[in-house]
């Protein structure tokens, strides 16, 4: 059970991870079309490639609440639909199918085979499937292999057998693949090493001599057991296997990829070997051997080829040539293996070749790429290397092969899918003075790294912007007859007149439309079949098709203040507070006023009529907003015309109303809503009962400090509400979940808007922005975080903001990469050893690599004005930047300096280095330039830097030190050994410093100024491999660790007070140690497993007027939040909701949700919002059941869930 706590947080993901662990290709919908299924963290996503529009869109994403380790597609013989097998950490094998009709995943089988969790001998690491879909093998890194026989029963349903064991103890598996053997018994190939003798051998000779084996496991379908059919030693360095087509398509067997070579092996075939070509180039080391890191086999009619990728990103095309007998018939014998350079694409974790001629590259880091094949490299000038020239024995030497990389010729990039993976650091700040802050982050590795600005908003495509002679107040578009497909006129209302523009090839003014142009307009409507209506302050103008004009004048001394119309009805409010109601006579199209006028208590500010429902003559309700802060629903039924139906009291006067039907996730169909905008900038959405006119289920959202105007627009085929306040917001239902979303548009604030439809732009919006007319469209719904990227040079590690100006300073470093100076030196060197080659853009081809070299730099990034890097400072002497801070020195009249910590000749594992340095830079030109002041040598690379009370605090090894700025170098003022291993982070408030250790959680340290002493006074009892921390308040720290946990620790009140007592701190110094640590221990408040490794945590707000929350980012690209609960009542509610959801909507991969969130430490004080947000997606009967159990209505529960999110985040 969840451990209780006095503090509760609600955990939500606002951007799921974008790193793809594995991507598979298949016909998952059962049609000819191929889809891609990817695993990112705990999410299973199905993407649909669109060969016409050349893009790839996610169709469905599901959180399985478990770690997805491997995926495999399979298809039963004769079927046209692929199923997905998931190997996860649940100790179970899961088979799911995609149901396109309902757009969901359906679990077909869940078979338990072992303990849960990622363990050495529990299968789940490797998954191999027989190409004919008859069996699959799931294996662990060591020992265990289980074979499941897949079949179908009489009902054509998929069946799965009990597992057959193929275990072999003390055996490590490097790779595993299903062999293509046609319809013979299924065979699986594995690369194995048996270490049993190595452990027993004291001389080390056995280790030297051990061989790597290629092992074939055959599943005898007749006898129903698995045998080790064949094994043979292969290259010791081999790490990867690829299936070679068999049966009628090819020779069967496998390709074995090792260091610098690829070998073809099969049981009754000779072996063939080709080298992996190395890059030619001045800065390339000719001795460096490459590995194959990803590969894909593609079968076409009668032929097949492989694309293999080396660690540089170079793709090589490998083909197999078959032997022919004298008659020219293929004998089934392999004759040779051929390899040649194909193209260079980003380093992939998976490559997928689509039948429609596309290549999907699931990148290891950075954006995923979607390429189109232009040719297959058949007739080009690339040098081919074939196995004839190379010995097949892996121990024999050979001359290496070389190729010259060149820009891509065979593939063309058609779409780059944004991915923030890896997200190295982030900061939430409002630099653009908008309502809501932005998220600034550094992402990616190597030359593909970027600085990204994330903004909440929908992407808008600007179509027209044209200035107008005077600022208009309102705008409408209208068709001329009901049957028209597109709008014909744009009507602009000014303070003293009206302008009519016709829409056509070009937009121009027209005068013979019958509209009154000498007065402002209040409403425009296409009425009945072919008439037009213009409402102006003095009356209603009814323009018939033959340009006859009927005018209904407003009563004397009164004018029209508000109006609403639909295809058959008109309601106007007079300045006297009366409402006049008109209906069109269906016979002759004339307007008839209802004989009574309804007098309202206050002045009417706004009115709304809904659309006339299909098959009816009128809409039932009129919504009336009055300045006494009420909205009334009046009946329009002829029997009870203009009678009150219901009233809603508001917090402020209503400024706009809109009755419209929208898709609704709670009822599953469409529901009538009343949208209300208030003068105070608040937007409300209430359900309007279609029979009784009752208002219920009000949801509130603050949009901005300006009054709200509401408009109905059509976006991507759905009726959406456009709400204008200090920003424009769009209310729509999410294409995937059908839940209601309200998202700001990334567009300047508008004053008025209207739906716009023309031939060029069938679904657009026309709006007024100050004195210009804007026409735009919204292309994509669902993705509500907009990204802007600025390219960086190397892998960014950390960044800081300038204290006053909107500038960031990033430190970047790349391991095993040549520094620019070394590179230049090699290029200039005349005694070239490795040939000449053009210098290619590093963003596509990477930098030349060399063991032990570092390339590192500091960048000044301006994400607001120029959106670019302003300057780059390269570090020399194989130094790499490891930490950065902007520190104010009291001794320098509070001037701020940029401090950068570096290390020389760093080796990552095991950690070693020659020295560390602290660089000091002065900000010049408002931070746009940096001036180097001096550098100070320290014993170790300083992993943490922090400004502390007008001086610099540095974490060096297991010590922290206080430095002041001197003329020649930094001056050490104070130091203390506070942490057991390595200081990786520092946080401070007042005299308190929170030191995070690489392995041993955090230590609280107090600085005693008089004594100049740093005294640790409280630490933790659990080792936590801290990756990032932040102080939540003076006593509490929130942090994340390298195993994917987020936790909150609190110092006991008494200890906290004692530490800050005046005096020397002697009592702290002499207090007795407790279990070799500090005298006191921290208390755990919250603990939650989030799966991704947190790289930054920050306490901040995300929306205007929102509360403080914790925003964290994970290395795989996750952005999540923790929202503190205010009351116990909500906690109880969500706890029981969670409990019901765990049992009613059990995670699909078979991992128990509670155990998953308690992966390392039992979950404490955290409600999983991602689980709670599954509630609206449940089938209706389950929703009802849970609602009944919780004693609440379905709508109430859904409101509570959506409020949790919208109050503080997106």
């Amino acid at each position: 059970m969840a451990t209780t706590s006095s503090m509760f947080m609600y955990s939500l993901t606002i951007q799921p991870p974008t790193s793809i662990t594995q991507a598979i290709l298949g016909q998952f919908a059962g049609t000819k079309e191929q889809q891609i299924v990817s695993a990112s963290g705990s999410r299973l996503t199905i993407h649909r490639p669109d060969p016409v529009n050349l893009k790839i869109t996610p169709v469905l994403s599901l959180d399985v609440f478990g770690i997805i380790r491997t995926l495999a597609p399979f298809r039963l013989a004769g079927s046209s639909k692929d199923y997905i097998i998931i190997g996860s950490d649940s100790g179970r094998i899961t088979i799911v199918e995609y149901v396109p009709a309902q757009n969901r995943f359906n679990r077909l089988h869940l078979e338990t085979f072992g303990k849960s969790g990622v363990r050495r001998v529990i299968p789940g690491q490797y998954l191999a499937v027989d190409p004919k879909g008859r069996a699959c093998l799931i294996a662990s890194v060591e020992k265990n292999k289980l074979v499941y026989v897949l079949n179908r029963n009489a009902q054509a349903d998929l069946t799965i057998s009990s597992p057959l064991e193929a275990h072999k103890s003390n055996t490590l598996v490097f790779a595993m693949v299903g062999l293509d053997v046609g319809y013979e018994n299924p065979v699986f190939a594995a690369l194995e090493i048996d270490y049993s003798d190595i452990d027993q051998d004291p001389t080390g000779q056995v280790y030297e001599d051990v061989e790597k084996q290629l092992v074939y496991y055959e599943l005898d379908l007749g006898l129903n057991h698995v045998v080790r059919k064949w094994n043979d030693p292969v290259d010791r360095t081999a790490t990867m296997l690829l299936q070679v087509p068999g049966g009628a398509d090819g020779p069967s067997g496998v390709l074995i990829c090792g260091v610098d070579n690829i070998t073809y092996r099969h049981i009754n075939q000779d072996q063939f070997r080709v080298p992996i070509p190395r890059r030619r180039g001045a800065a390339e080391n000719p001795e460096r051997k490459r590995n194959i890191t990803a590969g894909v086999m593609h079968k076409m009619r009668g032929a097949f080829f492989f694309l293999l990728q080396s660690e540089d990103g170079d793709l090589f095309k490998v083909t197999i040539e078959m032997a022919e007998d004298d008659a020219g018939q293929a004998t089934g014998e392999v004759r040779k293996l051929i390899i040649k350079y194909f193209d260079t694409v980003p380093l992939a974790s998976n490559l997928c070749i689509l039948k429609s001629g596309f290549l999907f590259v699931a990148s290891e880091t950075g954006n995923h790429h979607f390429y189109q094949f232009e040719k297959l490299g058949n007739d080009d000038n690339e040098i081919e290397f074939n196995s004839d020239s190379y010995p097949s024995d892996p121990r024999q030497p050979y001359t290496p092969a070389f190729f010259t990389p060149r820009p891509a010729e065979n593939v063309k990039l058609v779409e780059s899918i944004e991915s923030m993976n890896p997200l190295m650091d982030s900061k939430v700040a409002n630099l653009t003075e908008e309502d809501a802050p932005q998220i600034y982050s550094i992402c990616g590795t190597g030359a593909r790294s970027t600085f990204r600005t994330l903004k909440h908003g929908l992407e808008v495509m600007d179509i027209v912007e044209s200035p107008l002679p005077a600022p208009p107040t309102r705008v409408w578009t209208t068709k001329i007859t009901r049957g028209d497909e597109f709008d014909a006129y744009i009507i602009l209302s000014f303070s003293n007149g009206t302008l009519v523009l016709s829409i056509g090839e070009n937009v121009e003014e027209v005068s013979d439309t019958g509209f009154l142009t000498s007065a402002p307009t209040l409403a425009v409507q296409q009425l009945g079949e072919d008439a037009l209506i213009q409402v102006h302050p003095r009356g209603i103008r009814h323009i018939r098709a033959d340009k006859r004009v009927n005018e209904w004048p407003a009563p004397q001394h009164r004018s029209i203040v508000a109006a609403t119309t639909n295809q058959r009805q008109i309601a106007v409010a007079l300045s006297s507070g009366e409402i006049a109601y008109f209906e069109m006579d269906p016979e002759d199209g004339s307007l008839a006023e209802y004989d009574e006028r309804r007098e309202m208590t206050g002045t009417v500010t706004c009115l709304s009529l809904g659309e006339v429902p299909e098959g009816r003559v009128r809409t039932q309700f009129l919504a009336v907003g009055c300045d006494d802060s009420t909205v009334r629903i009046l009946s329009l039924d002829p029997d009870s015309c203009l009678e009150n139906k219901s009233v809603q009291a508001l917090t402020s006067g209503p400024s706009a109303l809109k009755i419209m039907a929208m898709a609704d996730s709670s009822s599953g169909g469409s529901t009538l809503y009343l949208h209300i905008g208030l003068w105070s900038g608040v937007y409300l959405r209430t359900v309007l009962d279609e029979v009784t006119g009752e208002l219920s289920d009000t949801r509130t959202r603050f949009l901005g400090p300006k009054r709200v105007e509401l408009f109905q627009v059509s976006v991507q085929g759905q009726q959406s509400v456009l709400a204008l306040s200090s920003r424009a917001w769009l209310g729509y239902s999410d294409p995937q979940t059908k839940g209601f979303n309200l998202t700001p548009l990334s567009f300047p604030a508008l004053d008025w808007a209207s739906n716009f439809s023309s031939e060029q732009c069938p679904e657009g919006v026309v709006g007024i922005e100050k004195q210009s007319l804007r026409i735009f469209s919204i292309e994509k719904l669902g993705d509500s975080l907009l990204q802007e990227s600025i390219p960086l040079t190397y892998t960014p590690r950390k960044f800081v903001r300038h204290p006053d100006f909107p500038l960031f300073y990033t430190i970047e470093s790349d391991n095993n990469t040549l520094a620019p100076s070394t590179r230049q030196q090699l290029i200039n060197d005349t005694g070239l050893v490795n040939g000449e080659a053009a210098i290619l853009p590093p963003a596509d081809f990477g930098y030349p690599r060399a063991q032990g070299h570092w390339a590192s730099c500091i960048h000044i990034v301006d994400p607001v004005d120029t959106k670019s890097c302003l300057a780059q400072i390269d570090l020399e002497d194989n130094e790499a930047a490891v930490s950065v801070a902007a520190v104010t020195f009291a001794s320098q009249e509070n001037e701020t300096f940029l401090i950068v910590g570096t290390g020389k000749n760093i080796k990552v594992s095991p950690r070693s280095f020659d020295a560390g340095f602290v660089y000091v830079y002065r900000f010049l030109e408002e931070g746009k330039e940096l001036e180097f002041i001096h550098k100070t040598k320290v014993e170790q690379p300083p992993q943490a830097l922090l400004g502390f009370q007008g001086r610099l605090l540095v974490g060096i090894g297991n010590e922290i030190r206080i430095y002041d700025l001197g003329l020649k170098q930094l001056l050490r003022k104070c130091q203390a050994q506070v942490s057991p291993n390595l200081v990786t982070g520092l946080q401070t408030q007042g005299s308190r410093i929170i030191v995070s250790d690489v392995q041993e959680s955090v230590v609280y340290v107090v600085y005693k100024y008089q004594e100049n002493r740093l005294i640790p006074f409280v630490d933790d009892s659990v080792p936590r491999w801290t990756s990032s921390t932040t102080m939540v308040d003076y006593e509490t720290v929130a942090g994340g660790d390298k195993f994917g946990n987020i936790w909150l620790l609190r110092c006991p009140q008494k200890t906290s007070e004692e530490a800050d007592e005046d005096g020397s701190g002697a009592h702290l110094m002499h207090e007795r140690q407790y279990l070799q640590g500090t005298p006191n221990r921290l208390a755990l408040m919250c603990h939650h497993f989030v799966q991704d490794i947190p790289t930054s945590i920050q306490k901040t707000q995300l929306v205007a007027g929102g509360r403080d929350i914790l925003v964290w980012t994970g290395i795989q690209g996750t952005i999540g939040i923790f929202i503190p609960f205010v009351g116990r009542e909500d906690v109880d509610f969500f706890q029981s909701l969670e409990q019901h959801l765990r049992s009613e909507d059990a995670p699909i991969a078979g991992r128990d949700h509670l155990i998953y969130r308690s992966y390392y430490v039992p979950v404490k004080g955290v409600i999983d919002g991602d689980l709670c947000e599954r509630y609206p997606l449940l089938p209706n009967d389950k929703k009802q059941m849970i609602a009944a159990e919780l004693d609440r209505s379905v709508r109430e529960i859904e409101r509570k869930i959506s409020d949790m999110r919208t109050r503080v985040a997106y």
Binding site: D89, Q125, S169, Y207, E364, I1093
Partner: protein, 85 residues
């Protein structure tokens, strides 16, 4: 005697079934080899952790994965004869 035999058999059964189950004479080398193999298997099995390490090392994920399986072959060096005495 029969009891002792059964205990022994039970233990052997456990050892064959659950990898790393110790016995009275487990050496430091056996114990630490086992521990390191467990750790490497865990690094490989958690995608986020593998990515974290591969970025730290500046190598590709697949290369780091293969290197870790390779390290599992002999994680803590040769067996020390003296220690076992």
């Amino acid at each position: 005697m029969a009891d002792k035999l059964r205990t022994l058999q039970n233990l052997e059964h456990l050892q064959s079934r659950y990898l790393g189950t110790g016995h009275a004479d487990t050496t430091k080398h056996e114990w630490s080899s086992n521990l390191h193999r467990d750790s490497y298997a865990s690094y490989i099995g958690h995608p986020a952790l593998l990515e974290y390490m591969s970025i730290g090392m500046g190598e590709s994920r697949e290369k780091v994965r293969a290197a870790m399986v390779e390290k599992m072959v002999r994680p803590v060096g040769v067996k020390n004869v003296e220690e076992e005495g």
